[in-house]
């Protein structure tokens, strides 16, 4: 039952000689191969790494929007279907340098734009808890792979909730570090001012462990910072006396089932000696609107490089303009085009002030209000998502779909660290608890999450092994 083991347990077993490093890798490769036809978590598989280091013998998966030399990096898009990486992303390289081995590149919504993997150009990934349901997104492939025990951990990227929401839907831990703490070099950009790489793991200790390995200033990414953060040393400390804010904006429209699970979580915090106070942060109502102006604007520019000239798909036509048009029309999917158009519109000279500039100013306000909250509270808590995983095709209107990110977006706008960990079940499906902290308070939110995890007890894994359908 190796697949049930955490990264930490595997490291110990390998270093004790209980497990052989090569057999661990081949075990997970085989398990991945067996389950992938059912879950479709991977876009491609590989075996790259095997250096010496603490992660020696530990396989992992990365979202297929991270460059890894020797692999194709598709970003879940037809336009990059055959794109071979020319270098390796810094965060991935750090894990390889620590001895880890990449065995798969996971599915995602095209260019990380989505919350279900339904917008992958290739296929949707299935939720290991219920194959009829989405795993969440955009890091849905990474979440499903970790939840099903195909890998002990995986990397995802989070621009508006893309690590935390699938973690919530798949019953695992998803951690988005403070913006600037992990290098974005080699992460194909969606919205540069919010994109952040982070781990998806079985438990909080693993999240802190992997976090520590990927943190750090990168001379190749000017938005990284030189602050040194250690997430492990304070992890087991008590949270007694801490104060958490629960914004009513996160609970007002919750259905009673989710509310009940949340109330149980609050009770657990009280048992741990922490206080939870309901507050009102009305400005959070604008977070989704602000996000859906800034993120598509940055995306419209970031995706301009996919023009069929130097690499990727090219539909050659008589003129350069037709070549651009046809390449991008055939290469990009519906959701990506929608966001490019949205972003192009809000950045246009006529509308810049009314949309982009106003959104930037609003973003500063939201950040400011959150900072003020963190002066009084150690963290902001709430559910990660308002619902459990939905069924494929279950959210047909773009607006409903965008509202999936309501609770997760504020952390991206403010650059805050945030983590989602399993809170409980609603109708036999997992749902996550989100903890958001002040910038660089990563050790504290991990400490809070760890305290909760201990009092909650072990969270079950989905049963994906016996014949498939649950």
């Amino acid at each position: 039952m190796l697949f049930k083991k955490s990264v930490e347990e595997l490291i110990n077993d390998i270093s004790n000689g209980k497990l052989d490093e090569n057999s661990v890798i081949s075990y997970f490769k085989e398990r991945s191969a067996n389950l992938n036809s059912k879950l479709q978590a991977y876009i491609s598989t590989c075996e790259i790494g095997k250096n010496d280091g603490p992660l020696r013998g530990i396989p992992f998966a990365i979202k297929d929007n991270m460059q890894l030399y020797g692999t194709k990096t598709t970003c879940g898009s037809k336009i990059l279907e055959n794109y071979g990486s020319t270098f390796t992303a810094t965060a991935v390289k750090k894990l390889l340098d620590n001895g880890g081995t990449v065995i798969g590149k996971t599915n995602l919504d095209e260019f990380a734009m989505g919350a279900s993997t339904e917008y992958s150009a290739f296929f949707p990934t299935r939720n290991p808890w219920d194959l009829e349901r989405v795993p969440g997104g955009s890091s849905g492939g990474s979440a499903a792979a970790v939840a099903a025990g195909m890998v002990p951990f995986a990397l995802g990227s989070d621009t508006g909730g893309s690590i935390r929401q699938p973690a919530s839907f798949c019953g695992i831990v998803g951690y988005k570090p403070t913006y600037g703490l992990v290098s974005r070099y080699g992460l194909s950009a969606f919205a540069s001012s919010m994109d952040q790489i982070g781990p998806l793991t079985k438990n909080v200790r693993d999240a802190a462990l992997i976090g520590n390995m990927i943190f750090g200033e990168d001379p190749k990414d000017s938005t990284t910072c030189s602050k040194r953060i250690d997430a492990m040393s304070t992890l087991e400390n008590s949270i007694e006396g801490m104060k958490f804010a629960l914004p009513s904006e996160f609970t007002d429209s919750l259905n009673s089932n989710v509310k009940r699970v949340l109330e149980e979580a609050i009770e657990k915090f009280k048992k741990l000696g922490a206080r939870v106070e309901e507050i009102s942060l009305p400005i959070l109502k604008y977070a989704v609107a602000v996000y859906y102006i800034i993120a598509p604007a940055e995306a419209s520019s970031n995706l301009s490089r996919y023009d069929g000239i130097r690499y990727g798909l090219r539909i050659e036509k008589d003129s350069i303009d037709e070549t651009y048009n046809q390449t991008r029309d055939e290469g990009f999917g519906r959701e990506v085009k929608r966001r490019i158009m949205l972003g192009t519109f809000t950045l246009s000279a006529t509308y810049y002030d009314a949309y982009f500039d106003k959104a930037q100013r609003m973003r500063a306000k939201i950040t400011d209000e959150m900072s003020k909250t963190f002066q009084k509270y150690d963290a902001i808590i709430g559910p990660t998502t308002s619902t459990v995983a939905f069924k494929f095709g279950g959210l047909s209107s773009p607006l409903d779909y965008y509202l999936q990110d309501t609770y997760t977006i504020p952390a991206n706008l403010a650059g805050s660290p945030a983590i989602s960990l399993p809170m409980g079940f609603v109708e036999e499906l997992p749902i996550g608890l989100q903890i958001v902290g002040k910038r660089f308070d990563d050790p504290k939110i991990l400490q809070i999450a760890r305290a909760y995890e201990k009092i909650r007890g072990e969270f079950p894994m989905p049963n994906v092994d016996d014949g498939g359908e649950m």
Binding site: Q67, T73, R184, S188, K220, S222, D307, L347, S348, A349
Partner: protein
């Protein structure tokens, strides 16, 4: 009719590496060899600002008397073109690094510089046909892509094409002096776009027309002249001048419409999220200011003040870094400042101007110049012969001593050999002698000229004048008749 002219200049900074990656800043290498994931726009690659770019930009901006901003930032200018791999250019649109500078022209006019900002160059395109619309394929070389530029934008303060030309020349010399740009306009290291509009007698102004692709100071003047006359004609015919972008064609010496302003891109500028705010400390700005070399205008003033060189010559000697170095070295090896100034301005520079080539000190080595000056000052050769030697040095690089011998240019200055020639000339020109006798003494010059002609310029003109006067006044007649 009055014209209003403003300029936009792109200057490549001669840094070691590109603006946002560590590729070499070498445009002329084998195509697509100085490239990397960053400057070819691979997914996931990120820009990192080269600090030397900041240093050079500040040097240039200080030399142009700008205010340097302690805080500036980068933005993206979005448009599609095959030479632009990311689909956007990183530039400084909202908050440039410097504003509010100027250059003073020789007529005393102060041309204001509105702003200077840092940006990156695009790649180079090669089309299968001279005419882009007839091309069936194009190649892209990305060596130039990501090379740092500063864009210098003037206020529309110039009224005459010559002013624009002088502005460009002065600017080029300043950038060369502070060693941030090669000044090579033909190779595109310095590129100029001109904005031109014309105001008629009734005060009605034409639309502004932008002229691009001007690759020499001379063409800056020519292109603007052409454009002013073109716009004036359109205005006189009663038609409206469309606001447009035109390209200068240096072959046909005319401008051609490239695109109308309505068809211009909306560049969708927005702050570059991949780069933090650029902050430079007061101390750093001060340190750079102190490290700046003497600028051409200051140098000219010093030449006037300390070396007693007349204003016009001082300006000419100081404006070009190479020439001023040549001038100062000439003085160092013992040529007097006055001689050095006169010879360099009147003779040396004239030679380079005559075949419109760039000044190159190697073509007339200072030791050669010194010999020519000494020959002349000691009356061993005539001024005319000196000119001839100079031209020969310029052409062949031969030593002046050799040239003097080969061409037999030593001045004849012994009386015994000159007197018969002077007499010959006097006897051949009885009418002129008559005039002299009637009191028109200036005709001495005529006799001197004639003797010089007969001796092929070798005679010492002063001595010839003296002899002619003596012979005509009868003082010499006894001994020779």
């Amino acid at each position: 009719m009055k014209s209003v002219i403003g300029l936009e200049i792109h200057a490549q900074l001669s840094t070691k590496t590109k603006a946002f990656c560590s590729c070499k800043n070498e445009v002329n290498a084998e195509p697509n060899t100085n490239i990397c994931p960053v400057c070819t726009g691979q997914p996931g690659a990120l820009p990192v600002l080269n600090d030397q770019v900041v240093e050079y930009a500040i040097r240039g901006a200080l030399a142009l008397k700008c205010d340097i901003h302690e805080i500036s930032s980068f933005d993206r200018k979005n448009y599609f073109y095959p030479d632009l791999p990311k689909g956007y250019q990183i530039t400084q649109y909202f908050h440039p690094i410097a504003t509010n500078g100027h250059i003073v022209l020789s007529n005393g006019k102060r041309v204001r510089i509105r702003r200077i900002h840092i940006e990156e160059d695009a790649g180079k395109m090669f089309h299968s046909s001279e005419n882009i619309t007839k091309s069936t394929s194009s190649l892209v070389d990305l060596n130039r892509c990501g090379i740092p530029l500063i864009e210098i934008v003037t206020e529309p303060d110039m009224e005459k094409p010559e002013e624009a030309r002088e502005f460009i020349e002065k600017l080029r010399n300043i950038l060369k002096t502070v060693e941030i740009n090669t000044g090579n306009m033909e190779e595109g290291a310095l590129r100029c776009d001109a904005n031109v509009s014309v105001v008629d007698e009734n005060g009605h102004s034409s639309s502004r027309v932008e002229v691009k692709n001007i690759n020499s100071p001379r063409f800056v003047q020519r292109a603007i002249e052409y454009e002013i006359s073109r716009i004036s004609k359109v205005m006189k015919s009663g038609k409206t001048v469309p606001m447009e972008t035109r390209g200068w064609d240096s072959v046909s010496k005319s401008t051609v419409s490239m695109r109308s302003k309505e068809a211009e891109n909306d560049y969708r500028y927005f702050p570059e999220p991949d780069l933090p705010i650029l902050s430079v400390s007061k101390e750093r700005i001060e340190r750079i200011k102190k490290s700046l070399p003497e600028l051409p205008d200051e140098k000219a003033k010093r030449y006037e003040r300390e070396l007693n060189i007349k204003n016009e010559n001082a300006q000419l000697l100081a404006k070009d870094k190479e020439i001023s170095k040549y001038f100062e070295n000439a003085i160092k090896i013992g040529i007097s400042p006055k001689d050095a100034s006169n010879w360099i301005v009147n003779e040396v520079m004239a030679l380079f101007n005559a075949d419109s080539s760039e000044f190159d000190s190697k073509k007339i080595p200072l030791t050669h110049l010194k010999k020519i000056v000494e020959y002349t000052n000691s009356s061993k050769i005539s001024r005319l012969a000196a000119k001839e030697i100079m031209a020969e040095v310029y052409k062949s690089g031969k030593d002046p001593d050799t040239i003097v011998k080969e061409k037999n240019l030593l001045q004849v200055s012994d009386e015994s050999s000159l007197v018969p020639i002077v007499k010959e000339v006097i006897s051949e020109n009885a009418k002129v002698v008559e005039q002299y006798r009637k009191g028109k003494t200036t005709v001495i010059g005529f006799f001197v000229g004639a003797v010089m002609k007969k001796t092929k310029g070798k005679a010492d003109p002063k001595l010839v004048g003296k002899l002619a006067k003596e012979i005509l006044d009868g003082e010499k007649s006894d001994q020779t008749d």
